[in-house]
Amino acid sequence: MMNEDVLRGYRGRLREKLGSEKIGIGDLIKVEYGEKSYEGILMPRLESADEFHIVIKLKTGYNVGIAFEEDMKIVRLKEAKKPTFKPPPLPESSSDLPEISIISTGGTIASRVDYATGGVHAAISSRDLLSIVPELSEIAKVEGDILFSVFSENIEPKDWSMMAKRVADKIKSGFEGIVITHGTDTMGYSAAALSFALSSLPVPVIFVGSQRSSDRPSSDAASNLIAAVSAAAQAPFAEVVLAMHETSSDDSIVFHRGTKVRKCHTSSRYAFQSVNSKPLARFRDRRIEMIEKNFRHRGGRELILRDKFNERVALLKFHPGFNPEIIDWAVDEGYKGIILEGTGLGHVSSKCYKSIERAIHEGLIICMTSQCIWGRINMNVYSTGRELINLGVTPLEDMLTETAFVKLTWALSQSNSREEALKLMATNLAGEFSHRTLYTWK
């Protein structure tokens, strides 16, 4: 915030002119040329917009763009007022409520708008959170903690380790449930990563995000957050889950198992779906109801932190015309494992056999998942499948591709040999396999 550009988005001659008049964003200015005259507050310009328009906010609250002319007169009438935020008095939390930590990693689950400039400011401190979602104070004693603040597409395996460590610290210091706010794009990967990294978990760890940013009245952020904090405080399960809308309505939030969840829609509130399983539980009418009967209960066990991930794993989606040299490249680059997202029951073209054979010979682990998303791998039905098995490809049952990728990065770092890693891959550690494929219909 310190070095914020006072002419954000303005470039070229226009920027020079504004600069020479010592004008900055938020100042009240007057623009005159010919018979036209405008008065308003200078607004920032979007990065992608052209460099020939000044944007001002009129007294009515509307923004308009004025075309820049060399001979136009621009003067500052009044300097910008620094926005001040006077939060309303905080509601008191009852002292016998469970203590919950909200770890923020990015995404604006809670924010407020600066109506003067249109800027959206993230609210992360517990004070901010409570002032925006005061209902939280009736559910738990909430602590807010910023781990980092990144777009979720920029999150890397080393960030999963940081998240896992921070959660472990919080649990050690006595928090009875953890909420992690996260950008939605890769939230499913992070949830899977923590499912493996936090073994023998004694309390619930709830990932939560929003599909509509929290500056708008219709945001799903508050209802998701209320459900997440409720689960962290009260849920009977001690697993890593992801809390998001069940449908387009605000009245039902579901908790998906971290290893079974996938973002299946680009924009809707109900983007996250449990694949090849039902959600673990549901939050409705301020109550948590279990859907899955088999789950790990809260308890006094000791957390075991296994927070290493081996980044040398590739995820390759097979398609007609797939070039097997991509596999060769991964081998040459020193990759330790490949998840192949094959077709149907788990197939790739016979053109790939040679490269796969070589990779396995070089010690790589190659696992198969299906690009069908729903359903189970079965490599015994067609000859292609049987041949791939003979080459040493490992079928991963009904595991999600993304979960398989995360698990392999984790398994490689947890073992000393290929065999040990393969054994881990085949073991159901965090509900990533379900042994029965249930009828799913919509």
Binding site: K36, M43, L46, S48, A49, D50, H53, V55, L58, T60, G61, Y62, N63, V64, G65, I66, A67, P83, T84, F85, K86, P87, P88, R112, V113, D114, Y115, A116, G118, S131, I132, Q211, R212, S214, D215, R216, P217, S218, S219, A222, S223, T247, S248, S249, D250, D251, T266, S267, S268, R269
Partner: protein, 635 residues
């Protein structure tokens, strides 16, 4: 009334839906659906906080009540954009063109770059919690009569969802209307007379219609009015659906403000101060143990309570009429309903009455220690509802000390208005960053200039000359929704222009007055009626009944209407047969009256054949039949 003297100021905001191929921010057709919805979803809107930590009080109130919003939709008219499940697409350029044409017609200055904003609206009418809107042009003017009126701005915005139901637990909307492009034209508050306000609205309406690019029918044009008198307050009246209602709404609002100012000075004369109005709500349920009042009886039967509030010095003022049929008491009841969820209030200015007896009023006054100058308000309901309601009544009473409270009101169909919410603070707007800004180039304006239709005054002259219409009829068709249809009909068919104008304006109006939904009559059917008339397959006498029938049978055709109404034309042969029959049935009369029997017989036949055959044809045939009859008799 001398409106100039009392400092009346009126500003108009005219909202008109535009006729475009798709909605403003998505590719859905701008259409409404009938019948049951295909899907339903429920939402909560959370008032967002501004940088100053402020929340719209009315919005907060509704949110805290936990009121759900239920949305209904169907796949033909809505997609994920209306559901707020997908970001908006690009702004509809066709709608922007129409707005720019209107700007050019009114000398309003187009902005160089259009920026779409989000205007916070949390009543549920927008699934997002804000309305997308943008300024297209600034300033401008409009001529009405001899005067010129200043415009403030022209905006392009998305229409809201339609409210179809409201109860204590939920508000219900249909999202089909959401996203239909609307143009909003705002005048400066420089209108000083109710009639002028209406005329300016008509002038704006004429300009909009002349573009041929606006939607028609009930609800496609809506007016908001900002009205104040000297010493009063700016009152925003929303949703006036008919232009004809504007002058009445302004007249009533003027009266309302003047009378509220008078009540305030009367209270000052009585030396009543804010501190005299105390928040003391007294449980008086026991006093009404044996009441005959049905409302109170049904409340106490449910174990609800009756609470009273004393308003010192208000005697005679709560019952004072502000404008026809509305009193200060009505305004207090509006607030009590809004904030307390009660059905209404009783006050001592109207009691005894409503089955509440004199002795009950006496003991009520005793109980709250009210003197002769004091008024007492009572409500029945759950204890907390009563307290919320009376607290709202008390607040309204305190506002009466000051005069006119600034608030948003909505118009009824009779021109009266009711409280909807306190006037929101400065509109909170921030940029819609999901929609890119659009530069308006001079090339674009130049090419749009060529699409400007002739001004309404020119059009009027042309209509009079080309179709030999008198000024009244020409104006009538110009101000109707059917100017284009009219021209199409008279150009293609051999029918009288006067008949077409009268049908499309007066006839439709008069069947609407009978309660028919004229919007159900499609343009296709109107066209078809005149085709049938032009071809001699229908007579103008059948128009009225046919239109009435079609308003109840929107899917049917005029031919089906004629069949159902037994108004199908009959052949000459058949007419001759019927005439002969009538003659033989009325021989006695004919013998007595001779040729003078023509009149009564025409009456009899017209009664039977009206609309099925032309009156001239009946007269001619009857005349010759009578002549023959008399001749035969003589022989």
């Amino acid at each position: 009334m001398e409106y100039a003297k009392i400092g009346l100021k009126v500003g108009l905001e005219i909202h008109q839906e535009l006729e475009t191929s798709h909605k403003l921010f998505c590719s859905c057709p701008p259409k409404l659906f009938k019948g049951p919805p295909e899907f339903i979803f429920t939402r909560l809107l959370r008032p967002s906080q501004s940088e100053l930590g402020e929340i719209d009080p009315a919005a907060l109130f509704e949110f805290l009540q936990g009121k759900m919003i239920i949305y209904e939709g169907d796949c033909e008219t809505s997609c994920l954009v209306e559901m707020d499940e997908e970001p908006p697409h690009k702004l509809n350029e066709e709608a922007l063109d129409t707005s720019l044409i209107v700007a050019l017609m009114t000398d309003s200055n187009p902005v160089d770059e259009v920026h779409v904003m989000r205007k916070i609206v949390v009543d549920g009418s927008n699934t997002t919690g804000f309305q997308r809107t943008c300024v297209v042009s600034l300033g401008g003017s409009i001529k009405s009569g001899e005067k010129t009126y200043e415009l403030e701005q022209i905006c392009l915005e998305e229409d809201a969802a339609r409210k179809i139901g409201d109860d204590a637990s939920a508000t219900r909307f249909r999202i089909d209307r959401l996203g239909i492009p609307l143009i909003e034209i705002s005048t400066a508050p420089n209108i000083h007379d109710p009639k002028e306000a209406q005329e300016v609205a008509f002038a704006i309406g004429r300009i909009l219609r002349s573009t041929g690019r606006v939607r028609r029918g009930l609800g496609t044009i809506r007016q908001d009015l900002n009205i104040s008198v000297a010493g009063g307050a700016v009152i925003e009246i929303k949703g006036v659906q008919k232009l004809e209602l504007i002058s009445k709404v302004v007249e009533y609002e003027t009266l309302r403000q003047l009378n509220l100012i008078e009540i305030s000075s009367e209270l000052q004369k009585r030396n009543i101060k804010d501190s005299d109005l105390q928040e003391e709500f007294i449980d008086v349920t026991e006093l009404f143990r044996n009441t005959k009042s049905k409302i109170i009886k049904s409340a106490t039967a449910k174990n609800q309570r009756v609470y009273a509030l004393k308003l010192p010095g208000f005697s005679g003022l709560i019952g004072r009429e502000l404008y026809p049929k509305r009193r200060l008491g009505t305004e207090m009841a509006d607030r009590a309903r809004f904030y307390g969820g009660v059905k209404g209030i009783f006050h001592t200015d109207e009691l005894p009455g409503y089955d509440i007896l004199e002795e009950e009023v006496r003991s009520l006054k005793d109980e709250v220690k009210a003197s002769e100058n004091d008024a007492v308000v009572i409500v029945a309901g759950e204890a907390d509802e009563c307290r919320n309601a009376l607290s709202a009544v008390l607040k309204r009473a305190k506002e009466a000390l000051q005069g006119v409270p600034a608030e948003t009101r909505a118009a009824n169909e009779d021109g009266t208005t009711f409280f909807t919410r306190p006037r929101p603070g400065a509109a909170r707007m921030y940029p819609e960053t999901d929609v890119i800004s659009i530069p308006i180039t001079s090339q674009r304006l130049e090419s749009l200039r060529r699409l400007i239709p002739e001004p309404p005054e020119e059009k009027l002259k042309k209509l009079m000359k080309e179709y030999t219409l008198n000024e009244k009829l020409a104006k009538q068709i110009l101000e109707s929704d059917f100017q284009e249809l009219f021209e199409k009909i008279v150009k293609e068919m051999n029918v009288s222009p006067t008949l077409v104008v009268v049908t499309l304006t007066e006839t439709l109006k008069s069947i609407a007055r009978e309660g028919c939904v004229v919007e159900n009559i499609t343009e296709k059917n109107l066209f078809e009626i005149f085709r049938l008339i032009g071809e001699g397959r229908m007579y103008k006498e059948a128009i009225y009944e046919t239109l009435k029938w079609l308003s109840n049978n929107s899917e049917a055709s005029p031919l089906e209407a004629l069949k159902a109404l037994n108004l199908e034309t009959i052949s000459r042969e058949e007419l001759r047969r019927i005439v002969e029959l009538k003659i033989s049935e009325n021989k006695m009369m004919l013998e007595k009256l001779g040729e003078k029997a023509l009149g009564p017989l025409i009456g009899i036949l017209m009664k039977e054949l009206r609309g099925k055959v032309s009156p001239d044809e009946i007269r001619n045939q009857l005349k010759s039949a009578i002549t023959t009859f008399i001749k035969d008799r003589k022989e």
